[in-house]
């Protein structure tokens, strides 16, 4: 990017921050970002958070609620009129019908006014803005510092990695037969972009469960679908600048358009304004799929974490470039494990975000890791078989899920022992993918089923959860003091 436009961009973000702070004086506001890769449970978490604040529930660790200081939480009209509202009512209805709510495909916002008493007495209102956005968009942020040729190098080398080669075969064939110096033909570009997109989509299935798939908007195009900014693909570039009117030049222009039309506005309007952040990670899906998926998740988290500017705010940075002061990493779907394994799940996630952890600590930000389930879909039980006690979980698997040669119809309850997580997370990250076996091998070390939400929950009732109160305490506890 030209230095001048970068300066302008920074100035815009800075002015926005100053305006936000001024508004804060009149009405204390906390912007909480909820993100995570696809199917990590962002929507369910946000719904459960809103429900916990509005209806309450069993939240002993969430001190402001447990000590009775929260008077009420009401939904308010959101501040940004151009951003979709988070449809919490629809999601609650979905949960009531025992289906999981539709997933987050774009950024959405919800504003809550939390009326509470401070510890010293006296009533306050904290305005809580929840910003729910797909984690794939965070994977795009590193693109801001990349040129088109960097992007080509990186995505082609990812596609040629052994774990992905099969899914990428079509796309690679297309890339290899094309000449970057050929004429800029729209049909060719569209054909290649379609292959690129379907390769990315193939990596996302339950069997592969890959995470690091930039550009994120290709999978969740929204209203930009079919626009030139989303119709590009990596090419096998030769060294040196591309001559004008070639295919390479056209692709490069589109890549830059993607950055300025998609990535930068997201960074400026949403991401740069967050105060707190929760990153939801579905570790279990990666364990289900195998070592390649786990390694990919690690890389994806790493590049997500690079995007965060974390650290304690100084007087100047509060005004001009506020930083995210608290980041919580949550391994979701902890209800798929018996409670005895929760600590191990937490240890695995801690191992995954280790580097970010160290970085945040030098920056002065506080960071925590938790194994949680925003909506708990299972119960725990002991199964005795042949004198052996097995700590299992009981729930209703979704229709079409299968395990141990059985297919489930979505109405039968089963007990599942999903496999034992290792006490030392390092064994999972053993080199050459030998740490454990995934679903592909036909005999995986782990099998986590997707369970349906429990019966008997809905808009008026508190939701069962695991450690949601701890997450709330970490994210909101100090601001409700």
């Amino acid at each position: 990017m030209a230095p001048r436009s970068r300066f302008l961009e920074d100035a815009r973000i800075g002015f926005r921050a100053v305006a936000d702070r001024v508004e804060d004086l009149a009405r204390p506001t906390l912007r909480l970002g909820v993100t995570g890769l696809a199917r990590s449970g962002k929507t369910v978490f946000t719904t459960a958070l809103v429900q916990a604040l509005r209806v309450g529930g069993r939240l002993p660790v969430f001190e402001p609620y447990a000590s009775g200081r929260i008077a009420s939480a009401t939904l308010q009209p959101q501040p940004d009129d151009a951003v979709p509202r988070f449809p919490v009512e629809d999601h609650l209805l979905a949960l009531e019908a025992r289906t999981w709510p539709a997933s987050t495909a774009r950024v959405s916002e919800l504003r809550l006014a939390v009326r509470h008493a401070t510890r010293r007495g006296g009533m306050r209102t904290l305005t809580l803005d929840l910003v729910d956005y797909p984690g794939e968009w965070l994977l795009d942020l590193p693109l801001l510092d990349m040129s088109y040729s960097d992007f080509c190098d990186q995505s082609l080398s990812l596609a040629r990695a052994p774990a992905r080669r099969e899914a990428a075969a079509e796309m690679l064939k297309g890339v290899e037969t094309l000449d970057p110096a050929g004429p800029a033909d729209e049909t060719v570009a569209r054909g290649l972009a379609a292959r690129f997109t379907s390769y990315l989509a193939a990596c996302r299935t339950e069997r592969m469960a890959m995470s690091l798939l930039p550009p994120g908007r290709f999978l969740l195009p929204g209203d930009l679908e079919g626009s030139p900014a989303l119709t590009f693909a990596p090419l096998d570039l030769k060294a040196g600048p591309a001559p004008p009117a070639t295919l390479a030049a056209m692709m490069e222009r589109r890549f830059e358009a993607y950055k300025s039309a998609v990535v930068r506005p997201f960074f400026r309007d949403h991401f740069a304004r967050l105060d707190r952040q929760i990153v939801l990670v579905d570790v279990l899906a990666a364990l289900n799929a195998g070592p390649a998926a786990l390694a990919d998740l690690e890389r994806a988290l790493d590049s997500i974490l690079l995007a965060f500017r974390v650290g304690r705010n100084t007087l100047l940075s509060t005004l001009w470039r506020p930083r995210i002061e608290k980041v919580l990493f949550a391994a979701t779907k902890a209800d798929h494990l018996h409670r005895a394994s929760h600590d191990r799940l937490e240890a695995i996630l801690r191992r995954l975000v280790e580097r970010a952890y160290a970085r945040a600590q030098t920056g002065g930000a506080s960071m925590d890791v938790v194994a949680m389930a925003a909506v708990r879909a299972t119960r725990e039980a002991d199964v005795m078989r042949q004198g052996q006690k097995i700590a299992a979980i009981v729930g209703t698997p979704e229709a079409g899920q299968e395990a141990g040669g059985q297919m489930f119809d979505g109405s039968e309850e089963v007990a599942l022992f999903p496999g034992a997580l290792p006490a030392d997370p390092q064994t999972l990250f053993a080199p050459a993918a030998s740490g454990f076996r995934g679903m592909d091998s036909g005999d995986g070390d782990f099998r986590f089923l997707r369970f349906r939400p429990p019966a008997g929950i809905g808009s008026g009732t508190p939701l069962p959860h695991i450690r949601l109160d701890r997450a709330l305490q970490f994210l909101l506890g100090d601001r409700l003091g």
């Binding site: 069993r58 002993p60 119960r379 039980a381 199964v383 078989r385 034992a420 454990f436 089923l449």
Partner: protein, 352 residues
């Protein structure tokens, strides 16, 4: 390295493979785990053994020798007295024997009671240490054991019935170890802390008033001593300690050593304030100034006693500070002295 990492998994037996059970499957028994909610009767007080670490030093030898001799002498004297009385008249002898038996029973029960009280004190100390360890390591089983023990200790406090019942229902829920300790502290300790601070503040106020009006130094010395001892005993009872006479001796030792350790740090934060307070009050009246100083001392002693007797560390709740318990005292004494406000402000400004 690689082989090492793989080996335990390759050798993993069928037990660690994923398995699915139908609930009506033959050959398995199936028990659902209800959140374990125990009745109060099941939570008996746990009195830990006194510390096994008993050194038999020279002093120990000396005291045990002396104690043995004295008790032998006393026993001999009683024995002789009973014999003499028997010689004089049989009925006198029997009465004396009865009294001697009473004395023996009472002595034994006092010893037992003191021993129990000591054990209770050390079990509370041990509890605090275990709680700290559980907090640091986020150890769930240990945290649960600490919570259960505390539920037992506070079982006799009627005002905590509701908090206890609530906490008991949370025991089965999925909460991390450190969070459970904090939750326990918030639910069980908060009401006690408020009462403890009140006790300390009251004692400090009483001491300062008595010192200010007492005619002789000896009187207020005695009064301060008496108040301090009662305060410690009451604080210890409040937190479930119920110390006996020996327990009091130990408690005083703990409090004094705690004061010695933390005194320096505490002096830093409020010495200025104390000196200022003293100076103003002393200018109004020397007796009044002494009263303030004595009151502050009592307050500080009370805080040390709280830190020593409270069965949980201050983790979720803020520890009471000198200003919390002594504010009433200083304010009450200094209200008639208007320059105070100005001096205070000046002091603050230079500090910032």
């Amino acid at each position: 390295m690689m082989v090492k990492a793989v080996k335990p998994r390759a050798g993993s037996q069928a037990a660690s493979r994923p398995q699915v059970f139908r609930l009506d499957e033959a050959g398995i028994t199936f028990t659902e785990i209800e959140p374990p909610i125990e009745d109060e009767a099941g939570l008996l007080p746990q009195i830990a053994e006194p510390h096994p670490r008993r050194r038999l030093g020279l002093a120990g030898l000396f005291w045990s020798g002396l104690g043995g001799l004295v008790s032998l002498g006393a026993g001999l004297a009683v024995w002789k007295l009973v014999e003499d009385l028997f010689a004089r008249a049989d009925w006198l002898g029997y009465v004396a024997l009865g009294f001697a038996a009473l004395l023996a029973v009472a002595t034994v029960s006092i010893i037992v009671r003191e021993g129990l009280a000591l054990a209770r004190l050390s079990s509370l100390d041990a509890l605090r240490e275990r709680a700290m360890a559980a907090l640091a390591q986020d150890d769930r089983p240990e945290a649960e054991a600490v919570t259960r023990a505390l539920l037992g200790v506070t079982g006799a406090m009627p005002s905590l019935a509701r908090a206890r019942a609530e906490l008991t229902t949370h025991l089965g829920a999925i909460i991390d170890g450190a969070d459970l300790i904090r939750l326990t502290e918030r639910s069980l300790m908060a009401p006690l802390d408020a009462r403890a601070s009140q006790m300390v503040a009251d004692a400090a106020k009483r001491v300062s008033v008595v010192t200010a009006v007492s005619p002789r130094a000896a009187v207020d010395l005695l009064f301060v001593l008496y108040t301090a001892l009662t305060l410690m005993r009451r604080l210890s009872s409040l937190y479930g300690g119920r110390p006996g006479a020996l327990g009091m001796v130990r408690l005083v030792r703990h409090v004094v050593s705690h004061l010695a350790v933390t005194g320096g740090m505490a002096a830093g934060d409020s010495l200025v304030q104390q000196l200022v307070g003293h100076g103003i009050a002393a200018r109004v009246s020397a007796r009044l100034g002494e009263g303030v100083v004595n009151g502050l001392l009592t307050a500080r002693l009370g805080l040390a006693a709280i830190a020593v007797t409270r069965p949980l560390p201050f983790a979720a709740l803020p520890a009471p500070r000198l200003s919390d318990v002594a504010s009433g005292l200083v304010r009450a004494d200094e209200e008639p002295a208007p320059p105070q406000a100005g001096i205070k402000r000046a002091g603050k400004a230079s500090g910032e």
